[in-house]
């Protein structure tokens, strides 16, 4: 039973943190080699923000999922979204 922080769970999380660290370093190293400015890439900024939120405590996964999601507008049928604009009455009942 591996509830709380067992050795097995520690090693799994340790591996994930090391892999994540290596992946981020890898992207930065390759970007530097190819003179790519990562800060202008929205995806990189999202990753950086997600990583920063890891220290925020419980609720990390929900926060990460929200961060990586397009915004939902409850009035989408009336106002239209990016794909629905200009289509009044679409899907309406």
């Amino acid at each position: 039973m591996t509830r709380v922080l067992s050795d097995q769970r520690f090693l799994t999380i340790r591996s994930l943190v090391v892999e994540l660290s290596a992946a981020l370093d890898r992207v930065e190293r390759h970007a530097a080699e190819e003179s790519v400015h990562l800060d202008s890439d929205r995806r990189w900024r999202l990753l950086a923000e997600a990583v920063a939120r890891l220290a925020a405590g419980p609720g990390r996964v929900d926060a990460a999922q929200e961060l990586f999601s397009d915004a939902y507008d409850p009035a989408w049928r009336r106002t239209g979204g990016p794909e629905l604009s200009g289509s009044p009455g679409c899907c309406g009942r």
Binding site: M1, T2, R3, V61, D62, Q65, E66, F68, S69, D70, A71, Y72, D73, P74, W76, R77, G81, E83, L84, S87, C90, C91, R93
Partner: protein, 279 residues
């Protein structure tokens, strides 16, 4: 442990996968109609596909003692062509009397477009008209949250719809609660990279309980693992969850959902006590 994979695209899998599933305890699979990796050019192309999942796959599965069920629809991706979609929708009733058909699915949204929403609504209307259960695909990645909420908004326009006969599939941490709170079933898809992992699916069971929760592999032609449901079983056992609790999610729940289809016949390995295993 006996289990069911309630969402897997066996048309994309080799026969060896049926054998592997049988060896792992799979007693039944259900196969929603989906995007085959290319756009089909005619309604007749879909008719052939519907024949495949109502006639051919059940025979292939039966060779390994697995019951095969299916769901019919035009998927969200090909629904962008509304004219073709309407031709396909008109053809679906030709196949609804096939004995393995559970209902309409996997309908839903892909990129959350107007055309997808139009075809989604027309297929919900079809399901209501024919008193069919419904399996709903929710979008991928950044589109998932918005698309799921849009789907729930549209379903709310059908007050007579029995929420207990509808599955909101591919839920993750940010979409599971609204699906369950509204009374729907929620499916967790275990994928190698996107969607859920077995460990995260266990987390969601611990957070939300076992009621109206399903796990599936959605195994298809892309990166996916037909053995994903057994992976979930192993992960749940490693955390000390009881066999009864695990079986509820991987066997009892999907069969309870399937039983809400009026054509449902239980899998032979469940219906016949002599064929049941207990390990």
């Amino acid at each position: 442990m006996n289990y069911v994979d309630p969402h897997i695209h066996m048309v994309s899998r080799v026969t060896d996968d049926y054998e592997a599933l049988a060896r792992m305890g799979c007693v039944a699979v259900s196969e929603p109609a989906f995007w085959a990796g290319f756009d089909r050019r005619s309604a007749d192309g879909f008719r052939d596909y519907f024949r495949q999942i109502t006639e051919v796959e059940p025979r292939r599965a039966a060779g390994y003692g697995i019951a095969h069920y299916s769901w019919l629809c035009i998927n969200a991706k090909e629904a962008e062509d509304v004219k073709l979609a309407r031709e396909v929708i008109a053809a679906i009733p030709e196949f609804l009397s096939a004995p393995n058909v559970l209902g309409i699915g996997e309908i839903g949204l892909n990129k959350n477009t107007r055309n997808e929403a139009t075809v989604f609504l027309e297929q919900v209307e079809l399901a209501v008209r024919y008193d069919e259960t419904i399996l709903i695909h929710t979008p991928h990645l950044a589109d998932k949250l918005r698309g799921t909420r849009m789907i729930l908004d549209m379903l709310a326009d059908f007050p007579a719809l029995d929420r207990g006969r509808v599955v909101i599939d591919h839920v993750e941490e940010h979409t599971i609660r609204p699906a369950l709170d509204a009374g729907y079933w929620a499916g967790m898809t275990l994928y190698p990279v996107t969607k859920c992992s077995p460990e995260r699916a266990c987390d969601l069971v611990e957070r939300y309980g076992t009621e109206r929760l399903l796990v599936n592999s959605a195994g298809d032609w892309g990166p996916s693992r037909p053995a994903a449901v057994p992976d979930f079983i192993v992960a749940m056992r490693a955390r000390g969850h009881s066999e009864e609790q695990i079986e509820r999610v991987v066997l009892t729940n999907p069969l309870e959902l399937f039983s809400r289809c009026r054509r449902y016949v239980p899998p032979p390995r469940i219906a016949n006590p002599l064929l049941r295993t207990t390990s």
